[in-house]
């Protein structure tokens, strides 16, 4: 929320900068307008200026939708502030709309009184109609509730480009620089440095110096336009002071990057090579792309399989042969892996399955986020087939949860499902880069224990020994038919099946002893209200609980990272609250899990619109619950 605090130092026109605590800005335009780049660069400049921030990119579902259509709109949202930022923001303080389609699609999210900046050159009769407007929205008073800054951005850009002497660029290339003009303006609006962007342009277009020059010119022009133009009094620059951020080295990181790197790190800490076997599927594909880049030097092999089943099987095959097999996919792809995952559970081999969840059911909404694969993760297998489920809460957190998934898979010889989602995959946040040398290794052992039998278990972990083919003296056979306790030979014996089923269950249940007790993320450890969440709703839930506390409502935030087994103290912790609210981006899957485990009364708050929660939605639901 863009709440005024104190006036800041004046801008180039001597205008007072209004100091505000935080702001939410969305860049929106056609897919070809470069909005993701614009957003990314603004994010970087913002991070460098010391704000905390969170971002949310939203891509069109089509590869290349026709220009000017609503389904071709691409946007990038950033929430930044002088305080800790946990979400990409609910409502927009600033919307940059590069064409009518971008305006119509995004208007509903704009706060009344907020600033809307439009490129009026793009509001041609044709494009207005294409967006579905009956008449020009800039002219018919429909935007009266907002502060609208209509600028001929394309014209201004062309002028700026022409000013670059000797630049040989096409008309198309010139027009394309308009995103940099807009970026320049917004940099001015929030008192951000251009330097990093200028550097980036230079690097990016190192081989196309003319393109670099016109883009820099457009950027400068936008910035200068803001700094020196007289604008309506209600349009004035802002200052968002730096946040109190723990000291350290930071970078922006997306969930896709963090989970990929976390897997590399996890395999390394286990002293194994990483065998990442996958089949492309949105939004999981990025992991395959990123890991393919790393390769050899990181002990990473990637394998693009013929389908998801083969990917899962190959990952298990790799684990069988002694490396860390990981497979990544999204809901429908994970569904296909179900049978193979059952084999990994039965043969007790390590396997990490990363599920970047998306809207379901079936093909559903591939480019939208949702967290509706929790049932599938915890319960979605034939037979009594328990395994481990962990979920990441933010882009940066994907790094640590990926390591945790690797640790548990290797230590307990079990499949582990790591849940991320479309939001986490694409969104990025400033990440306090950890000192990797401080991470505790958990080396895997392929050594043959004394009295080796493939299903003799470690008395502590109940894990079986991981003796791999190629090991002299360890020759043995395993398979999916029930195995005899100890020897692992095929056994149809009734009692043995009971014993083995119990072992499998006890092994997974026992992992609860090896994970941290459930903590309260915010608020007291017992009391009037617990808001319980998991996965990527961490941000909005945390912010909502913050707001509730500010509003004088005693509330706590419980965020569950280990979804199976659940932390040992969770039941008791929940019992300490009068009310429990469980917001999730599905029809109530965690709510079902908690009820089944603890028989607790709770209020489920489901939401499946393909978009993250708004803070206000949670606040409202919480107030209703406690105030009745």
């Amino acid at each position: 929320m863009m709440d005024a605090l104190v006036p800041g130092k004046p801008d180039g026109m001597g205008r007072e900068r209004e100091t505000i605590e935080s702001a939410v800005v969305r860049f929106a335009g056609d897919s070809g307008d470069g909005m993701q780049i614009t957003g990314g660069q603004f994010t970087l400049a913002t991070a460098l200026s010391g704000n905390d921030l969170a971002t949310f990119p939203d891509f069109p579902a089509e590869i290349r939708a026709p220009i000017g259509t609503t389904f071709g709109v691409s946007s990038f949202q950033i929430n930044f502030g002088a305080r800790v930022v946990r979400t990409a923001g609910d409502q927009l303080d600033v919307l940059v709309a590069m064409n009518p389609a971008a305006l119509i699609v995004n208007l509903a999210d704009v706060k009344p009184g907020a600033l809307i900046i439009v490129d009026e050159n793009a509001f041609t009769v044709r494009d207005i109609a294409k967006a579905g407007y009956a008449e020009n929205p800039l002219d018919n008073g429909s935007l009266d509730a907002y502060r609208v800054l209509r600028l001929p951005i394309t014209d201004y850009t062309m002028t700026a480009v022409k000013s670059v002497e000797g630049a040989e660029v096409s008309n198309k290339e010139s027009v394309r620089a308009k995103n940099m003009w807009a970026l320049g303006l917004i940099l001015w609006l929030f008192e951000r440095e251009k330097a990093a962007v200028v550097d980036w342009i230079a690097t990016k277009f190192a081989k196309l110096p003319d393109i670099a020059r016109i883009n820099t010119a457009a950027l400068d022009a936008g910035y200068i336009y803001g700094d020196v133009t007289e604008m309506a009094p209600e349009i004035h620059p802002y200052r968002v002071p730096p946040a109190a951020i723990p000291p350290g080295i930071y970078r922006n990181i997306s969930g896709s990057e963090a989970v990929s790197w976390g897997l590399v790190a996890g395999a390394h800490l286990a002293r194994l090579k990483l065998a990442f076997c996958s089949y492309p599927i949105t939004p999981a594909t990025n992991m395959l792309h990123l890991l393919t880049k790393l390769g050899k030097e990181f002990n990473v092999t990637t394998f693009q399989a013929e389908d998801e089943i083969a990917a899962a099987c190959a990952a298990i095959g790799a684990s069988y042969a002694g490396e860390l097999g990981v497979t990544g996919s999204s809901g429908p792809g994970v569904a296909l892996k179900t049978e193979a995952i059952g084999l990994a559970a039965a043969t007790e081999l390590p396997l990490v399955i990363v599920n970047a969840q998306r809207g379901g059911p079936s093909t559903g909404l591939p480019t939208k986020t949702e967290q509706s694969d929790l049932y599938q993760s915890v319960w979605g297998r034939n037979g009594d087939t328990p395994l481990v489920v962990v979920a990441s809460r933010s882009p940066g957190d994907c790094f640590d949860t990926a390591i945790e998934a690797c640790r548990l898979a290797v230590k307990y010889m079990t499949p582990v499902i790591l849940l991320t989602d479309g939001y986490l995959s694409n969104a990025s946040e400033p990440w306090h880069i950890p000192d990797f040398s401080t991470y505790e290794p958990f080396p895997a052992s392929h050594a043959i224990p004394a009295d080796f039998k493939p299903y003799n278990r470690d008395p502590e972990t109940l894990a079986r020994p991981w003796v791999v083919p190629g090991t002299p003296g360890g020759v043995h056979r395993i398979g999916g038919i029930e195995r005899k306790d100890g020897s692992g030979e095929i056994s149809y014996d009734a009692d043995n099946h009971q014993i083995m089923t119990d072992h499998r269950k006890n092994k997974i249940d026992g992992i609860a002893r090896d994970i941290p007790d459930q903590e309260v993320a915010l608020g007291p450890v017992s009391g009037r209200l617990a808001v319980v969440g998991w996965g990527s709703t961490y941000g909005p839930v945390n912010r909502a609980v913050d707001a509730l506390i500010e509003q004088g409502i005693e509330a706590s935030h419980i965020h569950i990272r280990h979804l199976w087994p659940l932390p040992r103290n969770l039941g008791q912790l929940l019992a300490g609250f009068d009310n429990i609210l469980v917001p999730e981006m599905n029809t109530g899957q965690l709510a079902t899990l908690l009820r089944s485990e603890y028989q607790c009364e709770l209020k489920s708050q489901p939401k499946v619109s393909g978009r993250p929660f708004r803070v206000s939605e949670i606040v409202d639901a919480a107030r209703e619950l406690v105030e009745g």
Binding site: L44, A196, W200, I245, P247, G248, I249, Y250, R251, N252, W261, V264, H268, K273, A275, C277, L294, G295, K296, E297, F298, N299, T301, F303, A305, E306, D307, I309, A310, A311, C313, A314, A315, I316, G317, A318, Y320, A321, G322, E323, G325, E339, A340, T347, I433, S437, P469, G470, T471, G473, G474, V475, H476, R477, I478, G479, G480, I481, E489, I490
Partner: protein, 336 residues
């Protein structure tokens, strides 16, 4: 690894009781494989048998090597993953015709085109043994089964033809009880890449006798064509039949040799490396009167999957450092 004493075929037999039906063709194949390993001086600790599900797929349990009995139809994918992790494993895959050509058809296609360096043994009994006798995609027209009481009418998949279509680099055919089965297995094993062998295997319970013409000592000579690279294609108990190619019809033709017949020099000479010939051989026995070719139909050299994916393990210290660098790469900034 140098084994101190050479192992005999029996040393490759595990202590598990073999549980195929008495008289099943799988026994003969098991013996031939064990002999092959012995002859190859295979290191049991570096040898691993993968399989899917089916009667054939019980195979790994009977070998005193590493073994992984996986899930139905996916053996090839497991083997591929294992070779990704450890390219030096001596890996074999045993899969039934259902396992390979029904549920596993896609993985067979891809393991072949990737040329993963394993031996792929397809036990083709033209039936689903383990689930008690339904037709498989390999069942020939007219096969009666509980799911085709009036006889099967679907065109069968022909394993060798399919393998060639899938860009296989080595394709051979053999009969379970064939004396020199082990020789063919050795060829497949020596091949760099997927050594695909279709073994015609008798299921005595559910499909007895489908290969009688090829396995019966009396009938076999007239009904099988033993392929030898560089040799003219001759068969028959009297070795009096030969194969020629009729360019006018672009088709193979059977001719009589010797007196009044054709001279051996006019016969087609087997060339393992000729794909057109291999394709023709793969469907030869669907022409009435033509023999069923046994031996190596096709082979060619090609880069293996392992050659493409092999990766030495990077040093722990160097990876540690690289990860540190990775985390700190790109635009970073300091907060004081």
């Amino acid at each position: 690894m140098n084994l101190q004493t050479k192992l005999g075929a029996k040393d490759y037999a595990s202590d598990q009781e073999v549980r195929w039906c008495p008289g099943c063709g799988d026994y003969a194949i098991l013996r031939a494989v064990q002999k092959t390993l012995a002859d190859n001086g295979a290191d049991p600790a570096n040898t691993v048998f993968f399989s899917g599900i089916g009667c054939a797929s019980r195979f790994p349990y009977y070998m005193e090597t590493y073994g992984f009995h996986t899930i139905h139809g996916r053996g090839a994918a497991f083997a591929t993953g294992a070779k990704l992790a450890n390219p030096d494993l001596d890996a074999w895959l045993v899969a039934g015709d259902g396992d390979s050509l029904a549920i596993g058809g896609n993985h067979l296609l891809h393991v072949l085109r990737r040329n993963v360096d394993i031996v792929y043994l397809l036990f083709n009994n033209e039936i689903y043994g383990l689930t008690k006798g339904q037709t498989s995609p390999a069942s020939r027209l007219g096969t009666r089964s509980p799911t085709t009481p009036a006889g099967s009418r679907d065109e069968p998949v022909r394993a060798a033809r399919f393998a060639l279509g899938a860009s296989a680099t080595f394709v051979a055919r053999a009969v379970d009880v064939q004396k020199d089965l082990s020789d063919i297995l050795k060829r497949a094993h020596a091949h760099k890449g997927t050594g695909f062998v279709e073994i015609l295997q008798n299921c005595i319970v559910f499909n007895d006798g489908v290969y009688d013409k090829l396995s019966n000592k009396k009938l076999a000579p007239d009904n099988t064509l033993k392929l030898v690279h560089g040799e003219p294609m001759i068969w028959g108990a009297e070795r009096d039949k030969g194969l020629v190619f009729d360019i006018a019809t672009m088709s193979p033709k059977a001719v009589s040799l010797g007196e009044g017949g054709v001279d051996a020099s006019q016969l087609l000479v087997h060339d393992e490396h000729n794909l057109t010939l291999a394709n023709m051989l793969a469907t030869l026995d669907s022409i009435p009167g033509m023999p069923s070719p046994l031996g190596v139909l096709y082979s060619r050299e090609a880069e293996t999957f392992e050659a493409r994916t092999r990766m030495d393990r990077a040093e722990t210290a160097s990876v540690e450092q690289k990860i540190g660098q990775l985390l700190n790469s790109g635009h970073t900034w300091a907060v004081a």
